[in-house]
């Protein structure tokens, strides 16, 4: 490890309603691989966005190579030598490898771009990295692993001094990960400062020199990888005081029948062989980090996305669900994660939104029974205490919490026995959150079966009777609430699934 090459001190960044970064410190030395860890919303990507100029910081200093700097856009950061290799690779699939690497700075002969010079340069870059890629290939024809290597080549061609990797191994096979690590070690030996953002504990242990942990927008601390244990890292990630009482035992009666059984659900990379059961009157929490595949699982179950395989039983009978229409008819409701885009029709009224899933129950022949519609809508507005001047108010004029209540009302009108809540309290103020928690509890008590997907550990622990943890498309843990802890959940959520060994964590198993 060499000198400190980059220092971020006291970085502060706020968005309306969210204090995303609270006096965060972070430093990178040349010739080191420095991991940045934290759960969802901890602030890792916000910090990197501030560094690379996508966001402007509210306070704090960034010192790079001894000078204080402030980048106003990614281009400036790139030119200074700080490059980020995104998780969603930023490339133009239709252009070739060389064209992508040198986009914006093509060597020219008069009016024409000198493609052969670009190809030669690219070959040299790949030789430096010790990889074999044909620069004339179209970017989209390469595997994800190779595309990533092109991004790395692009980074070093910009004379980068600091390279940030954002979840680099999510889409790679074991062999490809090994190859990537060879390159990273080589870069480290050459003096690059590397930031490695990942949640995969095993990898952190394998490749990094130091680990910095963030939590809830704050910088918690830095450990030397060799000298610390996984437990210590997880402790730092979750070690918060939860102000609310987590559930101590399941409120679901032990003899409750299984209303939903899902087996071997497969839908692309994000849903791999997922199986689980759901009981009547139960709240089943789905925990995991962003990108774990929970929303994708719910959507595949709901018929919103196509699936490759999977059997679904409802109340013991096998059902075939290929579209949301099938799911709704089978008795499943799904409250989307992104309520503005998928949950409600903003330009329409509360009434129109509330009856959207059940319109055929409000029709006499072809015609809509508007009085009945209004009556039922009002009933739910009252029951849910939705704050609105009237049921004809356009939904876009309501606050986030009240919009969510309209979505909930829509599905309550449907009276389905299985309800899937995807991030039900995201973007909602504390008061409304409480109301939604109480509502979910009442619904479960009245016999509905609820799946709650949430990235907030506190919420999971407070509401769930049972918890399923997912990581990168696979189910990695299942706990009863009585024995669940933040650490156990986080451990399962960051578990690197060995390709040969796919056993999920059970209680009592050492990590």
């Amino acid at each position: 490890m060499g000198e400190v090459i980059l220092t971020m001190k006291g970085i502060d960044k706020s968005f309306p309603g969210v204090h995303a970064l609270d006096h965060v410190d972070f430093e990178v030395r040349s010739g080191e691989v420095h991991a940045l860890m934290g759960e969802n919303g901890a602030g890792k990507s916000t910090l990197m966005k501030v560094l690379t100029g996508i966001y402007t910081k509210d306070a704090g200093t960034i010192t790079f190579e001894g000078k204080e700097v402030e980048f106003h856009n990614p281009r400036e950061a790139q030119q200074a030598g700080i490059v980020i290799v995104h998780q969603e690779l930023n490339m133009m699939g239709h252009l070739t490898v060389a064209q992508n690497i040198f986009i914006g700075r093509e060597p020219r002969r008069g009016l024409f771009i000198n493609d052969s010079a670009m190809n030669d340069e690219a070959k040299k870059l790949f030789a430096q990295l010790g990889i074999e890629i044909n620069p004339k290939e179209t970017m989209s024809s390469l595997t994800v692993a190779k595309q990533q290597m092109c991004e790395i080549a692009k980074a070093i061609s910009h004379d980068a001094k600091v390279i940030i990797f954002d979840e680099p191994t999510a889409a790679l096979t074991d062999a490809e990960i090994d190859q990537l690590f060879v390159i990273i070690r080589d870069l480290r030996a050459k003096g690059y400062g590397i930031v490695y953002i990942s949640h995969r504990m095993d990898e952190i242990k394998k490749i990094t020199d130091r680990v910095s942990v963030m939590r809830d927008g704050q910088y918690i601390g830095t450990l030397v990888t060799e000298e610390c244990t996984k437990e210590e890292i997880i402790d730092m990630m979750v070690g918060r005081v939860i102000y609310e009482e987590p559930k101590t035992e399941s409120h679901c009666p032990p003899d409750a029948p299984v209303v939903l059984k899902v087996e071997h659900l497969n839908a692309g990379r994000m849903v791999q062989d997922v199986s689980f059961e759901l009981h009547r009157g139960e709240i089943l929490g789905f925990a995991g980090l962003v990108g774990a595949g929970r929303t994708e699982t719910a959507r595949a179950l709901f018929g919103a996305d196509p699936k490759q395989s999977g059997d679904i039983w409802i109340n013991g009978k096998k059902v075939s669900i290929n579209s949301p229409k099938d799911a709704v008819e089978a008795g499943i409701s799904y409250l989307s994660e992104d309520r503005k885009r998928f949950g409600i029709v903003l330009k329409k009224s509360i009434t129109e939104n509330s009856t959207l899933a059940t319109l055929k129950n409000f029709t006499r022949g072809m015609f809509i029974n508007k009085p009945k519609e209004a009556e039922v809508t009002q009933k739910y507005v009252d029951a849910l205490k939705t704050k609105t001047p009237g049921i004809d108010q356009l939904v876009m004029n309501l606050s986030g919490g009240n919009q969510q209540k309209v979505v909930i009302a829509k599905w309550l009108v449907n009276d389905s026995q299985i309800m899937i809540f995807d991030e039900p309290t995201r973007g909602i103020d504390v008061g409304a959150k409480q109301e939604i928690y109480e509502l979910m509890t009442r619904l479960a008590a009245s016999g509905k079966a609820i799946i709650m997907i949430s990235s907030e550990l506190a919420e999971i622990l407070r509401m769930s009777d049972r918890i399923i943890v997912m990581c990168e498309g696979r189910k990695t843990g299942e706990f009863d609430i009585a024995e669940a802890t933040q650490e156990k959940i986080m451990s399962a959520a960051t578990r690197d699934i060995d390709m040969q060994n796919r056993k999920p964590v059970q209680e009592g198993e050492a990590s």
């Binding site: 229409k325 959207l356 899933a357 055929k360 029709t363 072809m366």
Partner: protein, 341 residues
Amino acid sequence: MKDLLNRFKSLKLVRIMGFNRVVLIGVIIVLCLIFQVLSAVLNHGNVFLTYARFTSAMNYGYFIGFLALGVTFVIATGGIDFSVGPVMFCAALISGYCFNNYGFPMWVSLIMCPLIGMVFGTVGGFFVSYLHLPSFITSLALMQIAKGVGSIFTKTQNVSWPGSSDPGGWYRSLSNLDITVGGQRVNIPTGLIILIVVAILCSIVLNKTKAGRYMICLGANREAVRLSGVDTRRWEMLAYVICGTLAGFAAIFYVGCYTTVQPVKGDTFNNEAIAACVMGGTSMAGGLASILGTVIGSFIIAIMQEGILSMGFNIAFQYSLTALILLGAVIADVMSRRRRN
């Protein structure tokens, strides 16, 4: 100024009809006045505001009105249909040809018109809602196909429907009924009555039926409606079927007033129909539609057309003006959408 505007907006009549629509009626009144003055000045005595002019304008307004009503449904779902004019002509050509050359009874030919339109609407709707093709290019392609089909069927000849005194000519009374009252010949605009009835039906479908609710909502946010368990493809296609059927229906009123149909023509009417819709408050983004606005918009187009003709201007001038109106309507629509965002 803003105060006055707000007080005007809160008048009961304005609230019922919508601010937009009241403005449009104001536009009609202003236009009539302008034409009245201009025609008095330029045409020496051949004034604008006469009953004859009114029925003449209405003749233009009928078929445009039906076309525009159909397009309203498609635009409400967030799409667009550039084929309505040629589809109308295709229906008129084929049905008229059958009447003239194959001896079809008039009532059969009349029924054929909306049916032919329905076929086009179904095809277009299928490509857009089930194959997810962009509606603008699908309808442009259909426009070409409609032009081709109509022309091929009639061997590139014009088709003239029967005159009022010819056998079968009773269809004309659907558009205009001439009766003698006390020695005077009076023209009753029956087409207007039918237009209003159909408009009311369209309004009922759009505002009071399940189909209409789905069509409008999917235009506003298709994915949210799909995720609520609705088969959006079926309802989206229905909008195109309705549009095609109304385009075919419009043919009856075109030939009822203008008798002769030329093949490979009709696309100017597309612009006018779309302009009438957008002027009337139907947003091209989808999710917002007003039948009343469309009807008023059609009247505006009709009056403009009549006014320009009454002043002796070139017909090309009218196309240009409509084009500019549509331009203005589209700009206004885009701006209001940006403001909302």
